[in-house]
Symmetry: C2
Subunit: 236 residues, 2 copies
Amino acid sequence: MDLKYRALQQDLKTQILSGIYREGDLLPSEKDLSESHRVTRNTVRQALSGLEQEGYIRKMKGKGSIVIRHHKHTLGVLSVKGFTEILSEKKLNVETIVLDPPVIRSWPVPFFYPLDDIESSAGCVYLKRIRCAEHNPVMLESTYIPDLNLPGFCKKKLIEGSLFKTLNINYGVEITHTSQDLRAIAADPESAGHLRLSPGTPLLHIYLRFSTNREHLNIYSSLLCNTENYSIGNKL
Amino acid sequence: MDLKYRALQQDLKTQILSGIYREGDLLPSEKDLSESHRVTRNTVRQALSGLEQEGYIRKMKGKGSIVIRHHKHTLGVLSVKGFTEILSEKKLNVETIVLDPPVIRSWPVPFFYPLDDIESSAGCVYLKRIRCAEHNPVMLESTYIPDLNLPGFCKKKLIEGSLFKTLNINYGVEITHTSQDLRAIAADPESAGHLRLSPGTPLLHIYLRFSTNREHLNIYSSLLCNTENYSIGNKL
DNA sequence: GAGTGGTCTAGACCACCTG
DNA sequence: AGGTGGTCTAGACCACTCG
């Protein structure tokens, strides 16, 4: 598994993040990239589409691919990514505090996404974490995963604190799709306490569903975000 | 301008919305579509990518492209679309109430997006509207457009109530990119009144910037959304 | 006019899913 | 085993931007 377009995409991303290409710079043309990386222009275009989707560049007809300014104080595009990956790319100090370590329990009723029979009848791995940026709690994340062929998951530590990395390395799970659902709600007392806010403070509530390469093994997350200092988006 | 992939994408979308393909149905395979529409598979894939992005289908390796269930009570993917288009696709009853008809004024200071010199020195076309779904106000939208070569814009009526359609048909403006920024905030008294809510109710605040095919002509919108009954997202 | 990205063709091999 | 989508190649023509 080392796809050419992903390799090129990661190459360019690294160069942008390391400052080789700066805001406003033009990337090499698609023709140049295709020659220097020995791939066709279609493959280059696939890589550049990915970068555009992630908010690193902007493609301009007749001109080229422009590197885009990175906004501080934005948590990143809502995309097929985990929290750790999003914020470490922004070079923010990131911490995760585990409130409830992984346990097997029954599914909450009602659950925020409809579950299929196989998911329902399997148990549910649950964990709850606080995400901090620059030492401030900004996000409260409750995660639910069907307990389908994940032996010993609750006993092991998360690799580098990342759920996705752990699932990938230990169990070969890869994220394939994401869907999301957004609302604004008032903070309940418990959540407010965790986020060091007053109850009733408006929070961004995001329900996420990550599909994976394993059928029925979907990852569900409920995120409560304090958007006072860090907004969510792909502001360019 | 009639691109083959766009034509195919629209074709399939119409068939899905009209019920020819229902939730869970498989679309014809990429090979079949390429033969029946006399285009290559790459072109078919471009069209299907668009439909996937818009949340109409889900592509499954080895299986096919599955038509996805439409959730009621979701306002639609945040995408390169106007409000009118999003909700009419969902077959909801949609109304727009113009609070402040288009006028030329100076830019608010500070403005929520950085403006370039040409935008700043041009005037600013401003309008404010309430969006209703099923006769309930759900969204308060303030729109700002640089007054760059849009003769008579403030005097004319909007075509079918759609800002994008008006800009497109009368001035040849097409949307090319979108960026967005999300926060949760408490409703101020004025906004609360318009949305028939109590002040302090949590609202989803979305800043949008639409880039167009005309340089410097960007469309800026500030949206306040009541997400109590209609959430925002691409829940599948 | 030279270079760019946008679109499109006509093939190919692969991994994955299902019967 | 046969069909599906995922990836990739090697070309082509176009509209657009810029000097």
